[in-house]
Amino acid sequence: MLGRMGDAIALGGAEVDITVNGHPETVPHGTTVADLVRAWCPSPDGVAVACNRAVVPKSEWSSRPLAARDRVEIVTAAAGG
């Protein structure tokens, strides 16, 4: 899923271990929230992100690097009453 990010590893960056929607993930150092959303979602429309129980506004996605042990939740609409 994170194939595009794998390229960054060749550049020598360290990796960080995070949790995305309950799954452990290892991403290259410098990976941003925007990179993560691109890897996880076909489109950023209708999507929101929380990092460590705080909303990360869309305007900050590309400037927000992920840090070790970040717990990221990427959510969208689902059928519901």
């Binding site: 309950g22 996880w40 979602c41 929101a48 705080a54 609409a77 059928a79 519901g80 009453g81």
Partner: protein
């Protein structure tokens, strides 16, 4: 003179249909589309859940194509903090500050936790959200929610998905009488006549999910609910006759032939 049909107004916004639908429990997006069309609804609830990386196209596209506004809910939240964060995520994801606030206190009955609900409502109202709280059929709690700044109150008829109808019509009537924000009957509706009763009691709108989505023919049931809500609304405005202990003839007694 007949009073014209007046639109529902929530937080200064016209909501063209008094039937609000839930989108959970349908087998496919095609059925959802048929339900939305048949219901005439202009507002539909959605839940906030983790993305499914495999999913293509979705519920938001179906609603947008039918010009139905999204009302995100906080279903599944058990604390005020969870609900507030969910509402903030919904605002970010869907670009709406409207939220159907649910804070559940019990897994078996899915009844609201009054204290957490009021706490969350106060926080969200302070932060500029248009809050529509799913609440117990408790007129006092409804008053507190209104005082907190909620744009409507959404009392349950009976537990979510139970289909038990309106168990305490008197409390609903009391809430309608005292409330200066719309009272939207939510939860427990089993069939169309329950929705008509809610409107006859003076509710401003009815929210229906399971009774439509889990029926044998969801689109047909959606049509039934649309008619029931309109019928109940008209009946309320027209004014029901008083209940009497004994009969009162509707045919004149004068001019009766001596047979």
């Amino acid at each position: 003179m007949t009073r014209a049909h007046e639109p529902l107004v929530v937080a200064g916004c016209e909501v063209s249909s008094r039937l609000v639908i839930g989108t959970g429990g349908l087998p496919s997006l095609d059925v959802l589309d048929a339900v939305v069309a048949a219901s005439g609804a202009s507002l539909a609830t959605v839940a906030v859940r983790r993305v499914d990386p495999a999913a293509r196209g979705g519920i938001l596209d179906v609603l947008a194509a039918r010009h139905v506004d999204v009302l995100p809910n906080t279903a599944g939240c058990f604390t005020a903090d969870e609900a507030v964060l969910t509402a903030k995520l919904a605002r970010e994801a869907f670009g709406t500050d409207w939220v159907k606030l649910e804070v559940i206190g019990d897994e078996d009955t899915l009844l609201p936790d009054a204290l957490e609900l009021l706490d969350a409502a106060e926080q969200l109202c302070d932060q500029g959200f248009v809050v529509l709280p799913y609440t117990n059929d408790d007129p006092v709690l409804a008053r507190r929610l209104e005082q907190a700044g909620c744009a409507a109150v959404m009392p349950l008829g009976s537990p979510i998905g139970s289909g038990l109808g309106i168990r305490n019509p008197h409390n609903i009537a009391l809430m309608v009488e005292q409330s200066s924000v719309p009272v939207i009957l939510d939860a427990g509706i089993g069939t169309a006549s329950d929705a008509a009763l809610a409107m006859e009691l003076g509710c401003a709108a009815v929210m229906v999910a399971s009774a439509i989505t889990r029926s044998r023919e969801p689109a047909r049931m959606a049509r039934a609910f649309r008619a029931a809500v309109e019928a109940g609304y008209d009946a309320r405005l027209a004014g029901r006759i008083p209940r009497r202990y004994r009969a009162r003839a509707s045919s004149p007694t004068e001019g009766r032939p001596d047979l």
